[in-house]
Symmetry: C2
């Protein structure tokens, strides 16, 4: 028995079109584009809805398999400039599966204790356990992104981190966790509109902070830092995917598709009974 696949309207799979490979240039990504998907917003919504049952069943299978010792898990790493839509991915894509099987963790500015350790020290405890879909809302990549842009560490240390990340992720993958690394790429203009919207709406004021404009002024430096991070850490074991995100609906179906691909690759199976079914049926009937 394999998981049902819904009829997809993709013309080319995001795992191919969005993958960061040889010669990738972030500057060439059009944030308003919808690679591999010819439909509009309305068709995007249908696509998202159509993916829900499959994602939900695959997650349940993954969880079920883990109860009998299967080591597989999935880790979704989300990185982006502010307002790019990480939260919307969590709510509308990850939010469609059973919360029992999800481990979500938002990485904030490191605490003093965290800063006293190696930058990967605080990451380990939040890795998904077998059977879980883990979500990193920001991640260890902050330490080579804001870390690089704002020179929060020595250049040598920043250099060291790319290799350390690759080793760390290789270990995670070897232990059975598929890592899906996603960068949501919005345009500076789109960000401006979204920040203006936050400032215009009382129910969004809490999502804005003045530091957002400070970071915005470092836009080119961040784009450079992402480009370097992609070149150094888009590995065979854990490749990066850059998802155009000016259209929220596209970003959501693309990430949903990447998660579905990861789960379909694992192809988790319902565990066989480790007890005698007939015996148990008789015991139950007599109870």
């Amino acid at each position: 028995m394999t998981a049902s696949k819904h009829a997809s309207t993709w013309t080319a799979p995001p795992r191919d079109t969005l993958r960061v490979g040889e010669g990738f240039s972030l500057a060439d990504v059009d944030p308003r584009s919808t690679p591999g998907f010819d439909g509009d917003k309305q068709q995007g919504r249908l696509e998202l809805d159509a993916g829900v049952p499959a994602l939900s069943e695959l997650q349940e299978r993954l969880f079920a398999a883990s109860t009998q010792g299967a080591p597989e898990a999935v880790l979704l790493v989300l990185q982006a400039m502010d307002t790019a839509g990480k939260g919307g991915i969590v709510k509308h894509v990850v939010g469609s599966v059973d919360p029992q099987g999800v481990h979500h963790y938002a990485f904030k500015k490191p605490t003093e204790e965290e800063r006293s350790h190696d930058f990967l020290w605080r990451v380990e405890p939040h890795l998904p356990k077998p059977g879980q879909i883990g979500v990193f809302d920001r991640s260890h990549y902050e330490d080579v992104l804001i870390g690089r842009v704002r020179q929060l560490a020595e250049p040598d240390e920043i250099e060291r981190r790319y290799g350390a990340i690759n080793d760390f992720e290789a270990g995670i993958v070897a232990s059975g966790t598929r890592i899906v690394k996603v960068m949501l790429q919005i345009s500076a203009d789109e960000q401006k509109e979204r920040l203006a919207d936050r400032l215009a709406r009382p129910d969004k004021h809490w999502k804005y902070n003045p530091g957002d404009v400070d970071e915005r002024e470092l836009w080119p430096a961040y784009q450079d830092a992402y480009q370097v991070a992609f070149e150094r850490t888009s590995t065979e074991a854990a490749p990066w995917f850059v998802v155009p995100a000016d259209r929220k609906w596209y970003a959501r179906i693309a990430v949903q598709r990447l998660l579905l691909d990861a789960l379909e690759d694992i192809d988790p199976q319902w565990p066989a009974a480790d007890y005698d079914i007939a015996v148990e049926q008789a015991r139950l009937a007599a109870s």
Copy 2:
């Protein structure tokens, strides 16, 4: 601005009809009843759907308020005999809110390390943080339920625990967390059907284990242990609610309503901007 309340079809609120008060007797609860709700399964589904936007908005407000220091959180404690539908509550009720704001924890048989500490030691780290909805799938009550039924501790120690739980919960409530304690009450016949269903379906085999029938044979002892737990720990600060659960749809809308009540009591507000909006609009425009 207060959270929108949807038009409800309840004739009497679950917080009144299902609450364990003076003279409560578990034996008098009819697991197939639907207290306070005249509708059928179809109307129950509509009620559940109608509650989703309100629950979702209240959760977001709760989370938003916590970002500016509001201490409030909600803790849903779920206890029940096997197959009563805890998982369905998590998936269909809690699953409708943003995973970012949910902390779900399933308590298993204590590890050796956990057993070397007081029974409440392992609970503390899983309490919801401000802004979160926490869900305990089983809980510290196992230590006065299976603990009592299977005599896993001395009678004196079991006795001590009721008071310890009340003190513990009073502290949690005082810190700003509303505790919603729910016991899903199914009938032994309904459990038999549900276990038979698990044995009949390959995609459900993993949910069955032979110990389920062993526990089932202790049904009256468990009912007694629940009755005692209710008498000793249904406090003003953290009352118990016994939810008839033979009809899954009813249990779900009842628990959803209890969560909505807890959140409406907190009445979390969107935080006011802690920056000058006009100044930020100008900075943004210039960026």
